[in-house]
């Protein structure tokens, strides 16, 4: 595994990793809220 020595490069790598994880979680949350809405509507019908 390559060792990253430049601190700025490491900061950017971590920020990118966090941004990707955050984007995936937000997308999952949107899908979940949509699915909950559909489920609630079918229960209350």
């Amino acid at each position: 595994m390559a060792v990253v020595t430049d601190p700025e490069e490491e900061v950017r790598r971590r920020q990118k990793g966090r941004a990707i994880v955050m984007a995936v979680l937000l997308a999952a949350f949107v899908i979940l809220v949509y699915a909950i809405t559909i489920a609630k509507m079918s229960i209350n019908r």
């Binding site: 601190p7 490491e10 900061v11 966090r18 699915a35 909950i36 489920a39 609630k40």
Partner: protein, 302 residues
């Protein structure tokens, strides 16, 4: 300060460190007991709502774990078992852990209320507050009974799962709460016997540190008896069938047998504490087996 140390404290934390804050391995037991509480209710639950309820239980447990690590960073640094966690290892600043824990706690409770019902959300909120305020902040550093009262925090998931499915709390989820509540002391005291030097070094008043090995071994045996009663109780009370009753009785007898071996053991060094290590490992299997048997009994055999 050398450049490596400077980098460690100024770099933004990696996302894996946020995940580590939630204690994923502990979460698996919480999710399992919560799911079993929901399935044992034996009422139809929409799969999306059920999934969301379990997700909220997991997130709530993760939030409580993160806040525990935020508060105990100084203690964790003193113990071998916990020194490599993100905060004591210097991979994350404390404020990030606090914000993450509080945010996740609010998110899990609000989502639980929106997806299921107010009772489940309220019990989830109580469980998080209990673990953080009563166990972590109040009891852990003050009394050797920390794990006895604090164990209640880990006993909430089946009640939350049940409440999410039914909207109420009846005798069976209360018995499941009691089972985990009484299981926690023998489970943790077995662990604390063979890692007591860690607790002593950190100044945590665990029972083996304050009362000695003999008293701790007696306490393990004493708590095993009511735990076994609580485990088997759903069967004679008509809340579970014979399959669960037989599994609970057999596993409780094995638990009691190992607890007797622990009671007999006179070893003072971890190398001689095989019964303690066996009890710790078996106690995890015990909980999985009993909750699994309860679900099998209620869902497939009734």
């Amino acid at each position: 300060m050398n450049s490596a140390a400077l980098n460690r404290t100024t770099l933004p934390a990696d996302w894996r460190d946020f995940l580590a804050l939630t204690k994923p391995r502990v979460m698996s037991l919480v999710v399992f007991t919560g799911l079993c509480g929901m399935l044992a209710a034996d009422v139809p639950v929409n799969p999306v709502i059920g999934f969301t309820a379990i997700l909220c239980i997991a997130l709530g447990a993760g939030a409580a774990a993160a806040l525990n690590m935020w508060y105990e960073a100084d203690l964790d640094a003193k113990m071998k078992r916990t020194a490599r966690r993100p905060l004591p290892a210097g991979r994350m600043d404390r404020q990030s852990a606090l914000h993450f824990g509080v945010g996740l706690a609010f998110f899990s409770v609000i989502l639980m209320e929106l997806a299921t019902n107010r009772i489940a959300a309220a019990v989830l909120a109580v469980s998080i507050l209990f673990y953080v305020l009563v166990y972590t902040v109040w009891l852990k550093r003050r009394t050797p009974q920390n794990i006895v009262i604090g164990g209640a925090a880990g006993a909430f998931p089946p009640v939350i799962g049940w409440a999410a499915a039914t909207g109420n709390v009846t005798l069976l989820p209360v018995l499941l709460f009691l089972l985990i509540f009484l299981w926690t002391p023998p489970h943790f005291w077995a662990l604390s016997l063979f890692v007591r030097s860690d607790y002593a070094a950190a100044g945590v008043p665990m029972l083996p540190v304050t009362a000695g090995l003999k008293t701790t071994r007696q306490h393990i045996l004493l708590y095993t008896l009511p735990m076994g009663v609580a485990a088997v109780a759903p069967w004679p009370l008509g809340l579970a069938g014979a399959f669960y009753g037989i599994v609970a009785s057999a596993f409780s007898l094995v638990f009691l047998g190992i607890a007797v071996q622990v009671w007999w053991n006179r070893a003072t060094e971890p190398a001689g504490m095989k019964p303690e290590k066996r009890l710790f490992a078996f106690s995890i299997l015990y909980l999985f087996a009993l909750f699994g048997a309860l679900v099998a009994d209620k869902v497939w055999l009734s």
